[in-house]
């Protein structure tokens, strides 16, 4: 069938040649509550089938080795139990998309869509991440050690005390915090030189909820017209200190050195940025 499909230009990049999970079981090493999966040459569905299988067999910690670009790690775990996943080294797009409360640690770089529409849980990336990190995220925490790509934190949202948190060690590209409707985003700018400004333009454009804490230099022309800049008050410092401590604990850096930097708070000027453009 695959040959016929290829001839007709119908190669299915996700499903062609996917092997049933029973054939792949030898790649799953289960030792009590810890499982290890060798991801070499596995398609994303095969890998996630095995992860699910491991969770069903009672694993609470799942270590994934030889991961090179497999997508949706953690997505298929709509289960009542919570697991911890360790990824070595480079997961593919949509890591932890729709994540249902699990914990994922990546020892390497992540690609686009980390925590896409994530519901709850925690993602820690010991490296950098690509575009749209935390897109439409509505709960849980994400820590990225280094830089992130474009449109990070786009349309993050919060409700009734469920507040997502995103902490980025490095800097971000354009449209950072676009359309943000809720949540806490902390951008630390650790890789920047002393007088170097952040690179992103259109920061917080269309933002109508949530808060961005930004460490380091940023010029007014880099900000979207929907955000205002404020100094941190005591409550803000408490929040920032809390999550910077957590960041420092994850990545073994010095929290005090980070906190000694200059922080600014970006808030939306209106909860209804486009309320006045219509004729009723």
């Amino acid at each position: 069938m695959a040959t016929v499909s290829a001839r007709l230009g119908l190669r299915d990049m996700f499903m062609d040649g996917v092997r049933p999970v029973r054939e792949l079981l030898p790649r799953l090493y289960l030792n009590g509550q810890t499982a290890e999966i060798d991801g070499a040459d596995l398609k994303h569905k095969e890998l996630n089938d095995l992860v699910r299988e491991a969770a069903f067999k009672g694993a609470r910690k799942i270590v994934l080795r030889n991961i090179y670009g497999q997508r949706y790690i953690g997505t298929r775990l709509y289960l009542p139990t919570r697991v911890e996943i360790e990824v070595h080294s480079h997961p593919g797009n949509d890591l932890g998309a729709f994540l249902n409360g699990h914990r994922i640690t990546v020892y390497g770089n992540a690609q686009d869509g980390v925590g896409n529409t994530m519901d709850d849980g925690e993602i820690v990336v010991h490296g950098r991440a690509g575009d749209i990190v935390a897109m439409s995220m509505r709960g849980g925490k994400i820590f990225i050690r280094d830089n992130v790509g474009y449109r990070t934190a786009i349309h993050m949202k919060e409700y009734t005390g469920k507040v997502p948190v995103l902490v980025i060690g490095g800097t971000a590209q354009d449209f950072f915090g676009e359309y943000m409707a809720g949540g806490i985003v902390i951008l630390l700018g650790l890789g920047l030189g002393e007088h170097e400004r952040h690179r992103a333009h259109y920061i917080g454009t269309g933002m109508h909820g949530g808060v961005i804490y930004l460490r380091g230099r940023v010029e007014p022309y880099q900000l979207g017209k929907e955000v205002g800049v404020l100094d941190l008050d005591e409550n803000d410092w408490q929040i920032v200190r809390w999550y910077v401590d957590e960041y420092a604990a994850h990545f073994g850096t010095d929290a005090d050195r980070i906190l000694a930097g200059k922080f600014q708070k970006l808030l939306p000027v209106s909860r209804r940025p486009y309320g006045k453009i219509y004729a009723y």
Binding site: R76, K157, R271
Partner: protein, 504 residues
């Protein structure tokens, strides 16, 4: 600023019939009617009237008429009354003109230029009252080949089969979100879908938690650009998941649910703070290409353990056939197409009336393209956009649709009169409003019965028409253009539709 607008409607009250019961005053959501105590007379502020006919229906003595206002500008083919009014309104506000429901402009309605066939002599017609007639429809990807294994008297399917959803009639309710419509109207659709064995579509407003267990199995849940109300439970409780790319009434643009409509309960369902604008961005920001679409399709399949068909809804636009082909190749199990006349709760009028193509042409083009490429079986086609009666539905199926979404028709069944003021949030019929005084006018027990009656009536009519053709299963008429003929159409139109002219 003094308004130069002419009233849209005039309210005529027959004083000899009016008994001053003040029903009209209570029913009107716009404050048109009012009673003067001293004079014991009813007066009308007709410039506020939107022509929804609520007062006329509820006047116990039949004393009221509401008609288009008789005053007219000097007749002018180019400068119509509507152009005048919109222009003046914009001069007064500087805003984008909003509207509701579907395109009302005189674009050709192709359904009215297509006629169905019936059997005479050479093929017996069938009487659906006494013979079995199959309307059951399966939505989802079908296998490339069907291999069976026969063991003694047991037959099992060897081919890999994909998840399909069964509906008892080829009609489902279009996406209408809780927020755009009232909870009562939303629940009525859900109840009717459950009772009749079809599907309703949550739109992108989420599905209230208390409805998930009971109505989830009858819901298509949407995952749209705003990702409102999307959590793992929402995706997993549903019959199918739909990625909304576009909508026929407003192709290419997003949506704004204004903050004043985001009440506590809507905020909880959409999972956003109360009183903030619910902004749906124009694109999905994780989809800039067919490959990205594929990524979201499989993200949703992963999130639902490959147990549910994934639909992709697009607006009918110029290259719809090529786009649909890409969608199928991206892994979608259902392609939903919404045409030029598709409805909306709020859209800029300039977009609603000028962007997109008629669903009839889009459907015919998509069906043909997918057949030519040998991938028609890989998806079901759901079409939407101003379906008014069962004949429209059957003609759509003959043009290649698997099933039809009805939105406006369902709202009309619940009381809507297409006054196009949905965006004001003051629907006197209790449909497109979050005002508890207005929304309680819809009793889900009764409104769902109206919807079930509609589905029953249409289904029966479809069976009658099928019987007349000598066909006893809706499957046999799907994409069967031999049963259609065009009347009064140009050659190019017949060509796109793939239909012969009448008499040929």
């Amino acid at each position: 600023m003094y308004s130069y607008l002419l009233p849209e409607f005039t309210v005529v009250r027959r004083e000899d019939r009016c008994i001053r019961c003040r029903v009209c005053e209570r029913q009107c959501a716009e404050g048109v009617h009012h009673w003067d105590k001293g004079l014991d007379r009813m007066f009308s502020a007709e410039e506020k009237c939107v022509g929804c006919q609520r007062c006329v229906v509820f006047c116990p003595t039949g004393a009221l008429y509401v008609r288009p206002h008789p005053s007219e500008y000097r007749p002018n083919y180019n400068w119509t009354r509507e152009r005048f009014q919109d222009l003046k309104r914009q001069a007064e506000t500087g805003g984008v003109i909003l509207t509701g429901s579907g395109n009302d402009k005189p674009f050709r309605v192709y359904w009215d230029h297509l006629v169905l066939n019936a059997s005479q002599v050479t093929n017996p017609s069938i009487d659906p009252l006494r013979e079995p007639m199959e309307l059951r429809t399966f939505l989802g990807r079908k296998p490339d080949t069907l291999e069976l294994e026969v063991e003694d008297d047991r037959v099992s399917i060897k081919s890999e089969v994909h998840p399909n959803v069964v509906i008892e009639t080829p009609i489902a309710f279009s996406a209408m979100s809780y927020g755009a419509i009232s909870y009562q109207a939303f629940k009525s659709l859900a109840m009717a879908a459950k009772e009749f064995g079809t599907l309703f579509n949550t739109g992108e407003g989420g599905l209230p938690r208390d409805m998930r267990a009971e109505y989830g199995p009858h819901a298509i849940v949407q995952c749209a650009s705003g990702r409102f109300g999307v959590d793992p439970e929402y995706l997993n409780c549903a019959a199918a998941v739909e990625i909304k790319i576009g909508q026929g009434a407003k192709p290419g643009i997003g949506g704004h649910l204004p903050g004043e409509k985001v009440s506590n309960s809507i905020a909880r369902t959409r999972m956003i703070p109360e009183g903030t604008d619910a902004l749906s961005p124009a694109p999905q920001h994780d989809i800039y290409s067919i490959e990205d679409l594929s990524m979201l399709i499989y993200a949703l399949k992963e999130a639902t353990n490959y147990e549910k068909p994934v639909s992709v809804k697009i607006a009918a636009v110029h290259n719809v056939a090529a786009i649909a082909s890409g969608i199928v190749r991206a892994g979608a199990d259902i392609v939903a197409i919404d045409g030029l006349r598709g409805g909306t709760g709020a859209a800029p009028k300039i977009i609603r009336d000028n962007v997109g193509i008629p669903i009839e042409l889009a459907l015919a083009a998509v069906d043909r393209r997918l057949r030519e490429e040998g991938i028609r079986h890989k998806c079901s086609i759901l079409v939407a956009g101003g379906f008014r009666c069962s004949a429209d539905v059957l003609k759509a199926i003959a043009l290649g649709a698997d099933a039809v979404y009805i939105g406006s028709a369902a709202l009309v069944a619940m009381g809507c009169t297409l006054c196009q003021k949905c965006y004001t949030g003051r629907c006197a019929w209790g449909i497109c409003t979050q005002d508890p005084y207005l929304s309680k006018r819809i009793n889900p027990e009764i409104a769902s019965q109206r919807l079930v009656n509609l589905l029953r009536g249409w289904s029966h009519e479809i069976k009658e028409m099928l019987g007349g053709m000598g066909i006893n299963a809706i499957e046999s008429v799907r994409g069967n253009r031999d049963h259609l003929r065009g009347v009064g159409l140009e050659d190019w139109e017949l060509e796109v539709l793939g239909v012969k002219g009448a008499g040929e």
